[in-house]
Symmetry: C2
Subunit: 435 residues, 2 copies
């Protein structure tokens, strides 16, 4: 129920007043904003082609979920939740609500229509992104192993629908996983061109689940890159150069989209691995440039494979220097993670840097200092058709041999089945819950 | 020493090659880049008027330090360091180096000139902001009490120069300070329109101090606001509406710039208070809109004082509703922090939201849950001519009576004397160390 902009309610603008006041484009706080929503969406779509990343709009509904092959936005907030309800209907209703809210927020609407009918309940949206615009928001949902079986219980009658590809990740060499940053029954990844817009989306969805879930972990991330260039991670190297091309449907069907016959409800979805990788930047920064390049197997400034000149030059694992040594070292990151070293496997990396400021830390390497250190690194996110031929074998090799391990510690880990996109009127995961 | 772009050194572009390749404008990795630096600066200045915030350039040298009355950039990284050296010259040399590096980075140059002469030492810059542009970077330096006296020792012969205004902050009601997020001998605040550019600046400066200091705390922050409007904090309310006008030199001289005669070296400087304020967003989001507005004393969506219609309408503390009750509640944030409630005192708030993801937290309020919660809130930053008439009395009142305290916990705290700006060729704090 909308109120008029009367003197008794000066803080509660009618939709028209609000649109005029607040949102150059973008956020609508009004209830029953369907019409204006469509108009806004059209206007926003027009603006999506403009340069202002705050005005970009990504579609929510479609064959695939957004945020997978979507060109990477500048910020993310990813989170995992544990379900506490034992009711299948609770889960379905939550997913319906999440679907609708995510679609609304991607158009810069509040998570649910606000009403001004009184003070007997909290507002449906925290209001902190009012006027910021859609900012290219995508919201991607995923299902962890616990949705299917939790402590040997089939809480929602879904155990028989668990895909073989949704494996529990093995323990990798060097893993230092923190329980409170690992796992989760449900996954939400919000990506946007603004930090507050991304966090806002997760925060509204989390709140809609109060009483039937608890938050397991949340993680903010960001990515800084000159437009149309491969961004550099906090180690100063370009990250993502050798990704399979998202514009090539054949490559995406081969490597990213799920196709296994045992889980028809996952057709058009993907399996997503998330790893929180802390990087000891203090140590890394003290390493000579040449050593850093040996670790990566690439030149730092150009991004070219060692011995090559340009970023996208072919990674030639057989190239030798004049003394007959491999140009790209045996234990370099690029060699170990390369397709040719992994039976042709490829994964679509869509990682973000993270920067959770500092904490007091006890190092596991000489000089074994105990001190305040950066709690920063990489929130590694990778999509693939099957982790058993994607992330798992690749990371098993990396975990054992990668020179980079001196500087990185995997402290969080999770794997999720991200179902295909929803049709308007339906909800994410509908096919999993049907029949 | 610059190298040519020969096949032997394919990853190390000559300056010209680099400029062509990497930096539309912005970062120069070349050694001896003084000439190109000036040219770039001129070009950057031209671009500063363009809309792209990555191309904005803020001057480093000047009467005042940047980052105080500078229009607020979108991101910050603030940090405090403890000096471990006992050498006055070490401190002076560090400040010289910091000054020069900060000036360079504000022009999108690397922290120090890179040379390509060999691999016997680490590169002078981590390289992770290569090509990103200056992004409006400002770097602001401050001196904590420990620079003057530390554990009763006058390590650097500065004890007699400590200004009376650089007080140790008292313990405030409700303080839950964490030692590892509190205090510090030296302060660095980097603000920029990009998260990585801000963090990069602090990271390079921190590294220059290895061996003579340790990091005490670091904190990333951000601010999302529609252009030319007061941004909203994570509670959804506009923050900073009633700031003294930074464009009014008289107001700045009255409230912000230090003028006390006991510390001539601080003339044109300011005293900066930093508080890390965690906000229980989970609870806040469950509060009714009307209650939230009572807490703030403002309407949420418009930002107007309660009973008024527009954000910048006058805060009338005497206004009553039809029943004779105060329009702006006795214990509301706006009333308690208002100038009229504080003997005319004003401070210049230049705060950022922070979002350090989540941690496992034990709540101090009902329902006393132990669970994963947002580690998010406000990195409160306030500048003033004297904290004894600024932050301290204002916060003493707030700490006792502010209704907002139900949702906020002060977990970090620091106070610094930020000296005036440096002249080109000199360094920050030169007058403190002269004679």
């Amino acid at each position: 129920m909308s109120s008029d902009d009367t003197p008794n309610q000066p803080s509660r603008p009618a939709r028209r007043g609000f649109l005029k006041a607040g949102a150059a484009l973008g956020a609508s706080l009004g209830a029953g904003a369907a019409t204006s929503g469509l108009a806004q969406a059209a206007e926003a779509k027009h603006h999506a082609m403009s340069a202002d990343p705050m005005l970009a709009v990504e579609p929510f509904y479609g064959e695939h979920q957004g945020g997978i092959v979507t060109p990477q936005q500048a910020h993310t907030y990813v989170a995992a939740f544990d379900l506490t309800t034992i009711s299948r209907d609770d889960v379905i209703n939550l997913l319906r609500k999440w679907t609708e809210s995510a679609a609304r927020m991607s158009q810069a609407h509040p998570a649910a229509a606000l009403d001004y009918s009184g003070d007997d309940h909290p507002a449906a949206d925290s209001g902190d992104v009012l006027g910021l615009g859609p900012a290219g928001l995508t919201v991607t949902f995923g299902f962890g192993p616990g949705l299917f079986t939790s402590q040997d219980k089939d809480r929602y009658g879904l155990a028989h629908k668990r895909p073989a590809a949704l494996v529990d990740l093995p323990r990798f060499n060097g893993d230092q996983l923190i329980a409170q940053k690992t796992g989760g029954d449900l996954f939400v990844q919000a990506c946007a061109n603004d930090a507050q817009v991304a966090f806002h989306a997760v925060r509204q969805l989390a709140r809609q689940g109060y009483g039937i879930l608890t938050m397991r972990w949340g993680q903010a991330g960001f990515l800084s890159g000159p437009r149309a260039q491969t961004p550099r991670n906090l180690m100063g190297f370009k990250d993502g150069t050798n990704n399979p091309p998202t514009t090539d449907p054949k490559a995406m069907n081969q490597f990213v989209w799920a196709t296994a016959a045992d889980a028809p409800w996952m057709q058009g979805g993907t399996y997503t691995v998330v790893r929180r990788i802390r990087i000891t930047l203090e140590h890394w920064d003290q390493m000579e440039l040449g050593f850093q390049e040996q670790v990566f197997g690439r030149h730092k400034y150009s991004g070219a494979p060692l011995g090559q000149k340009k970023e996208f030059d072919n990674v030639d694992l057989n190239a030798q220097d004049k003394d007959g040594n491999p140009q790209i070292p045996e234990n370099s990151h690029v060699r170990l993670s390369n397709r040719a070293s992994n039976n042709g496997a490829q994964i679509l990396r869509r990682s973000y840097s993270y920067n959770d400021s500092t904490d007091f830390y006890i190092e596991r390497w000489p000089p074994w200092r105990q001190e305040t250190e950066y709690d920063a690194g990489l929130i590694f996110i990778a999509h693939q058709g099957d982790p058993r031929t994607g992330f798992i074998p690749i990371n098993e090799r990396l975990a054992k041999f990668d020179m980079m391990n001196q500087f990185t510690t995997h402290v969080g880990s999770a794997v999720f089945a991200c179902p295909p996109g929803a049709k308007a009127g339906s909800f994410i995961g509908a096919e999993l819950f049907s029949a």
